[in-house]
Amino acid sequence: MSDAKRAIEAVWRIESARLIAGLARMVQDVGLAEDLAQDALVAALEKWPSDGVPDNPGAWLMATAKNRAIDRMRRQESFQSKQEEIARETGALFAMERSDFEAAADDEIGDDLLALIFTCCHPLLSREARVALTLRLLGGLTTPEIARAFLAPESTVAQRLVRAKKALREARVPFEVPRGTELDERLPSVLEVVYLVFNEGYAASGGEEWVRRDLCEEALRVGRILAELVPAEPEVHGLVALLEIQASRLGARLGPEGEPVLLLDQNRGRWDPLLIVRGRRALERAEGLPRPLGPYGLQAAIAACHAQAIRAEETDWVKIAALYDALAQIQPSPIVELNRAVALGMAFGPEAGLALLNEIGDQKELANYHLLPSVRGDLLEKAGRPDEAATEFKRAAELTTNARERDLLLSRAAPPNA
């Protein structure tokens, strides 16, 4: 790729989301807005290598896209007779003349961007579609890049994107930021998408390492943008805090052979102190708001407890157990209870953890979940009950689908010097 093309690509990455957002406000259709923005990109690729990148590339792209929009609408007007369509286009044209991108206040651009985020994450769309559309329209990723990140065929991702845009158009989803209670209802869907993108990058499920790191950084970027746009929502800061702290462990989460390293076994010298500080600051912002911490905020607070301990032995397990208790109250799930049992075991001794496990042990969701016997085995071992522990480790080994984990569990079931 030529230097000029790479420079244009960089400008595109910076400008595309704002461009698409501004256009979507005018034409009330993110699919059409993306097409118009792409037209402007094509024009830039034709012009900029010889003319140079303009001083204000964002404004240039917007002006070009607007002209293309007018061209398209005129063309459509002569071919299409549908009254409604014309009325919509005229309205859009009118809106376009009134608004001037260059003069638009920061607030307005921010509002458009936020509307774009909410539209990409609309509950009408499947999770996969929301994720793909967000990466595409907000992150400026290409379809092959998204496919590579999610280890999915390009055609699948392309189709997913086309269908998502079509679904939004057909449902005539208004391009706007939801307000009041609707905002509260729809925010979790947005935060979930950001978290899913991050986890796709964080989970060591294969793929090239740099792609995975890129995904984590992209999720963080969108999270930070959201934190600037909806600063009064504690969960946004909670999510950012959680992601910053989890990202601080990126360099420690895999061993030399690419095997996952458990949190307590990680070399803490590899944790990134800058991201920990940033995470703590985001958590403080969440805590400083009048509303209580939500599930992301509480998970961030737990992550912050771990981050604070320079050595694993210094972990404040009592506080972590209390935070899991709070998390279990607002977002009860067997996994949270399992984590709470681990924390109780660490804070108050194995019997405390085992007591909780006995309470939750018969839940259906956990019946075939290998971590339940694995955690129980660990607690039994600590409680000095090796025979019972071995039974649990064997059961966990039967349930896990991960070969490396199975080996580890079996070795714990039969200690070499037993």
């Binding site: 790191r213 360099g251 420690a252």
Partner: protein, 128 residues
């Protein structure tokens, strides 16, 4: 990817303290970086005369107080940003409201950039 952008202001030490106007323009830029989710950290540095230099020769340290009349350029501040490519970092740097200055953009080493023994050595003495 992370990049450090070093600002080398084209000014004399006596003109070091920026005007309110310069600061306003710069904070608009900083805000833009922050709103784009790119900014990780930044600082402006006090003039060289408030600092000093430690130079080593054959392992022996020598301390010199500022200012450094022999130095052609001195760092005036830095931004630490996240970017998706070197070109993107350079594009952000070129949007800085600079008059006569230079910004050097350097990519930061990540742990994974090093071979295993270097990674181990880097983390070896932590918390001990």
């Amino acid at each position: 990817m992370r990049f450090m952008m070093f600002m080398y202001p084209g000014i004399e030490e006596k003109d070091w303290t920026p005007s309110a106007e310069d600061v306003a323009a710069m904070s608009r830029y900083n805000e833009e970086l922050r709103k784009a989710g790119m900014l990780l950290s930044l600082d402006g540095l006090r003039p060289p005369s408030d600092g000093g230099v430690v130079s080593f020769e054959d392992g022996k340290a020598t301390i010199t107080d500022g200012p450094f009349t022999e130095a052609k350029e001195v760092v005036g501040g830095y931004w630490l940003i996240q970017a998706r490519s070197k070109e993107e970092a350079l594009e952000w740097a070129s949007r800085c409201p600079g008059e006569n200055c230079r910004i050097e953009v350097r990519q930061i080493f990540e742990m994974d950039d090093f071979p295993q023994d270097v990674q181990d050595a880097a983390a070896e003495n932590f918390g001990g």
